[in-house]
């Protein structure tokens, strides 16, 4: 059962090949057995998941089940879930149970999905290797000595290890796409504003966007149908109709114009990764696409701009974790200042503190214009780059990450090297565009991700382009040999 995609599970449940209780129990057993190796879950929602499965089976027996009733999923531990701990990978929220539900998880509940549990992540989504989590690193199922990527590393590893059919993730600078690439799964970051951020703990509000992490593009389309839509509780959510993302999946790619930004294939990209990507591009040629080189001239500026804007917003977003109302509070504070200093000093990990400091500095009087304002100007230029290129091509393609999964611990002492692993994913968030990563090859037994970037609200196009590739290849069906 754990080999099946969501599309196949929907069919299996409808055909009564198995019940939701059987399916859910199967996944819970796998998690309990196997996750010791990967540490991809922070919380396993065993009892409640089985209750939900019983209800789903009941609905099905009564003929009241909708399409997804009884399908298990896992949620990144950044989404507030009423009654289930939401830690955001931090000691600060190690025991936090939200009194309200995020819009994303609410939509899954309303569609009668089963919540298997909450997945591990970099603390407050700050990291590219899932090593900053207070709950320990996650190991890549393809090689447990390697990182799964981050920050949605738990979700990616859990899907790759077949501990869940799919999981939610969030992407601020590549946090869905990079772990999807490193774990050999499919992940999509929708257009900024496509999915509500209500109840999703903010890292950088103007960049954060939630999306599904799945085995196939078809599953991603199914789940994006569930997650997308206007929400009056999020002012930055866009009020635009949601198409059925599965509708155009089977259309051929004849005439598709693909652009390869030369800046995304520059030094720093592993040559074998590059080879794998070019092999994938050959597949697209065979599918009828034309490919041309394009230029996104401000790419080199996007990393520094991102590392001003994201920490600036984070420094403010994380101010609420002050030990006063909820979350971690230091022992026996002497006074208010001591309470603040020690609660935050002890509750946050090193990477979070580093980014709060960087962001606070960038917003300080006397530095604001030189850093924050300058970064916002670069952001507009980056956006313009994409707008210009989308006049010439339909989709932009590149490697998702410069290398395959690196070793645990390899980059933890070198934050700049760690930040550089997001070089190809970050500009997309600055521009607010939709982008995907799909498995496109293996290098030394480790997955390579192909990134595809679309124009605003062109998720359907991306999913079609990804699905057609997956119809022609079986990279997405490859599973870690070490599994089980």
């Amino acid at each position: 059962m754990h080999e099946l995609t969501i599309a196949e599970l929907v069919q299996g449940l409808a055909d009564k090949k198995f019940s939701s209780v059987e399916l859910t129990q199967h996944y819970i057993s796998r998690i309990n057995q196997l996750d010791k190796k990967y540490n991809s879950f922070i919380t396993v929602n065993e009892d409640e998941a089985l209750n939900q499965a019983k209800q789903a089976d009941q609905l099905r027996a009564n003929g009241q089940a909708n399409q997804f009733a009884g399908i298990p999923v896992a949620h990144k531990d950044i989404f507030c879930t009423k009654g289930i701990k939401t830690t955001c990978g931090s000691k600060m929220l190690a025991n936090f149970v939200a009194p309200y539900e995020s819009t994303v998880t609410e939509k899954f509940s309303q569609a009668n999905f089963i919540t298997l549990g909450k997945t591990n992540m970099d603390e407050f989504a700050m990291g590219s290797s899932n090593e900053t989590s207070h709950f320990g690193s996650v190991c890549n199922p393809w090689d447990t000595k390697r990182v799964p990527g981050g920050s949605s590393g738990g979700s990616a590893a859990a899907v790759a290890a077949q501990l869940t059919p799919a999981a939610t993730g969030t992407d601020t600078g590549g946090s869905i796409r990079q772990p999807a690439a490193l774990c050999g799964i499919t992940g999509i970051k929708p257009t900024y504003g496509r999915v509500s951020r209500w109840g999703m703990i903010a890292f950088a509000s103007s960049l954060d966007q939630a999306g599904p992490m799945t085995r196939t593009a078809e599953d991603a389309a199914l789940l994006l149908n569930v997650m997308s839509g206007f929400d009056c509780k999020d002012s930055t959510c866009v009020d635009q109709p949601v198409p059925d993302y599965t509708e155009s999946l089977n259309q051929p790619l004849t005439g598709l114009r693909i652009g390869l930004p030369k800046e995304y294939f520059s030094a720093g990209i592993d040559s074998n990764v590059s080879k794998a990507i070019h092999a994938a591009l050959d597949v697209y040629r065979q599918l009828g696409a034309t490919i041309k080189e394009v230029s996104l001239p401000h790419t080199a500026l996007s990393l520094p701009a991102y590392y001003v804007i994201a920490p600036a917003e984070a420094s403010s977003n994380l101010s609420r974790f002050d030990g006063v109302r909820y979350g971690y509070r230091c022992e026996t504070p002497e006074n208010l200042e001591d309470l603040y200093k020690r609660s935050r000093g002890e509750g946050f990990g090193a990477e979070v503190k580093r980014r709060i400091l960087v962001g606070t500095y960038a917003l300080s009087a006397g530095y604001y214009d030189a850093y924050y304002i300058k970064a916002q100007k670069i952001r507009r230029l980056v956006k313009q780059d994409f707008t210009d290129v989308f006049n010439e091509v339909d989709v932009i393609m590149s490697p998702t990450a410069p290398t395959t999964a690196f070793n645990l611990g390899e980059k933890m002492d070198d934050p700049v090297a760690m930040y550089a692993s997001d070089i190809n994913t970050i500009a997309v968030n600055l521009a607010g565009l939709p982008a995907m990563s799909i498995p496109a090859g293996l290098v030394d037994g480790l997955p390579v991700g192909l990134q595809m970037i679309g124009n605003y609200f062109a998720e359907a196009k991306l999913l079609q382009v990804a699905h057609q590739f997956q119809q022609a290849t079986d990279w997405h069906r490859q599973r870690p040999t070490a599994l089980d």
Binding site: P99, S235, T236
Partner: protein, 480 residues
């Protein structure tokens, strides 16, 4: 040396919306602590603000009321600082591009003249919660009911020169927000709060002196006292050869003094930046026009109308239109008694004095407008005279509700019967032969002064019930 004060005010007005500026929680005053604070107000992880459209409408109304430029695109920013009653660690406010730009108001001065005061800007922001230091055994309790209450912060130019002018400005703003119906202006409940920036400089100097900011003064009387104290304090400092330091000071009403709260060096770097959770506010031409068209009559329009219609002086008209309720009361009295000047005199004399003495609002006056109008009608048709009217008013203030019954019961009806008055006059003339001789011997100028003696005697003899005009006239006839 001669000193002059320079004062600028920052007024925080709580907007009278039903729900908060960024959440659906109620803004009602006086609920049990933390019963009106939802997930957004508590600053829980993952919550997001959604702007209450009503606050935009109210802020625009205010802007139009002070002839201000409305920034049809305006932006919310985060003001970052840590405080226990500030749940998110930042206050959502406006910095660059506030909703209301430059405007002005005209305020009445004591000398009867008007002065134009510039308003620099007015911006929207959320209120913080309250820290409660009592009843928690040395700990501090936090009540977040007030967190997220919508505020309009109105910043004046430093163009006020005395505590009196500051109060006149505040009263105008107070009146205006109530005219517009955008705030109840209740200072005791904190619906209107004021910070004053005060500095002094040698008279004639054009550069500004170092200012001190006096925080959170919550009544007209205390603002006047606090500013006066601060001006005196700064004069003392400078005359003793010292320097005024830039600092924030707190007014202690019990001791009537201001005390240093924090210096400039302790001031926060608020790290303002545009709030990424909120889109820029865009007000369409259409919406702006609709708000303009729906504006009620404003104090200055009412002022002009009273001047034109009732022939009031600008000063009188300004005083009477400052508060909508006062203006409405006056207008009713003036229309019903048919004598605006008489009505204005009574409003600014008897009524104002009584209200002031008893610390009442015009709406709480024990004498409603129609009753005062009836009393003034009786004065005008000479049923009673001025003295009788005051006596009757006294009774009405104490609760009597029938004007004519009071006049009857107190015997206040004027004697207008010529024969009856003539009889009293004859009696007085007979009793004062000496004065009569002197009168007759005097010239016209002296006579005018001397007639008062006789009038007084006749009025006394009639126990005040004679019509003074009639008495005067008859006396002149009989003495000539």
């Amino acid at each position: 040396m001669q000193w002059e004060a320079v004062i600028g005010l920052e007024v925080h007005v709580q907007l009278a919306t039903k729900s908060k500026i960024f959440s659906g929680a109620s803004t009602a005053f006086g609920a049990e602590p933390n019963t009106q604070a939802c997930a957004v107000d508590l600053g829980l992880p993952g919550v997001l603000p959604v702007l209450n459209a009503e606050v935009v409408r109210m802020a625009v109304m205010f802007g139009l009321g002070i002839h201000a430029h409305i920034n049809q695109t305006n932006i919310f920013a985060r003001k970052n600082y840590f405080y226990p009653d500030l749940p998110k660690g930042y206050q959502t406010s406006q910095m660059d591009l506030p909703i209301v730009g430059k405007g002005y108001v005209d305020i009445p001065l004591d000398n009867g003249e008007m002065k134009r005061i510039g308003v620099t800007r007015a911006h929207l922001e959320e209120d913080a919660g309250k820290s409660l230091h009592e009843d928690f055994h040395g700990m501090t309790g936090i009540d977040l009911n007030r967190a997220g209450t919508p505020l309009l912060e109105i910043v004046s130019e430093p163009e006020l020169c005395s505590a009196k002018e500051a109060v006149a400005y505040l009263k105008y703003i107070h009146g205006l927000i109530r005219y517009l119906g955008i705030s109840d202006g209740n200072m005791a409940q904190g619906s209107m709060r004021c910070d004053a920036n005060v500095s002094i400089r040698p008279k004639g100097e054009t550069t500004l002196g170092t200012r001190a900011e006096i925080k959170n003064v919550n009544s007209f009387r205390f603002i006047e006292k606090a500013i006066n104290f601060e001006i005196e304090r700064q004069i003392d400092v400078l005359e003793a050869g010292g320097k005024v330091v830039q600092e924030t000071r707190l007014y202690d009403s019990e001791r009537d003094e201001t005390r240093s709260m924090r210096g400039k060096e302790e001031a926060n770097d608020y790290r303002y930046f545009p709030c990424p959770d909120l889109l820029p506010v865009v007000i369409s031409d259409e919406d702006l026009r609709a708000i303009k068209e729906a504006l009620p009559e404003l104090p200055e329009q009412k002022r002009q109308r009273f001047m034109d219609k009732f022939k009031l002086s600008e000063y009188d008209a300004t005083i009477l239109t400052e508060e909508r309720e006062t203006a409405e009361y006056f207008e009713q009295v003036a229309s019903q008694c048919g004598d605006a000047k008489l009505a204005a005199n009574w409003m600014m004399g008897e009524i104002a004095a009584r209200l002031n003495k008893n610390n009442l609002e015009i709406t709480e006056s024990p004498v409603p407008a129609d009753r005062l109008a009836k009393l003034l009608s009786r004065l005008k048709d000479q049923t009673i005279n001025g003295k009788g009217a005051k006596t009757a008013f006294e009774a009405l203030w104490e609760g009597a509700d029938d004007v004519d019954a009071v006049i009857e019961a107190k015997g206040l009806k004027q004697v207008t019967d010529t024969h009856a008055i003539a009889a009293i006059i004859d009696d007085i003339i007979a009793k004062h032969p000496e004065q009569v001789e002197q009168y007759k011997a005097a010239d016209d100028a002296k006579r005018k002064k001397m007639i008062g003696f006789f009038v007084g005697q006749v009025m006394k003899a009639s126990k005040g019930s004679a019509n003074p005009g009639q008495v005067n006239q008859l006396l002149q006839q009989k003495l000539s």
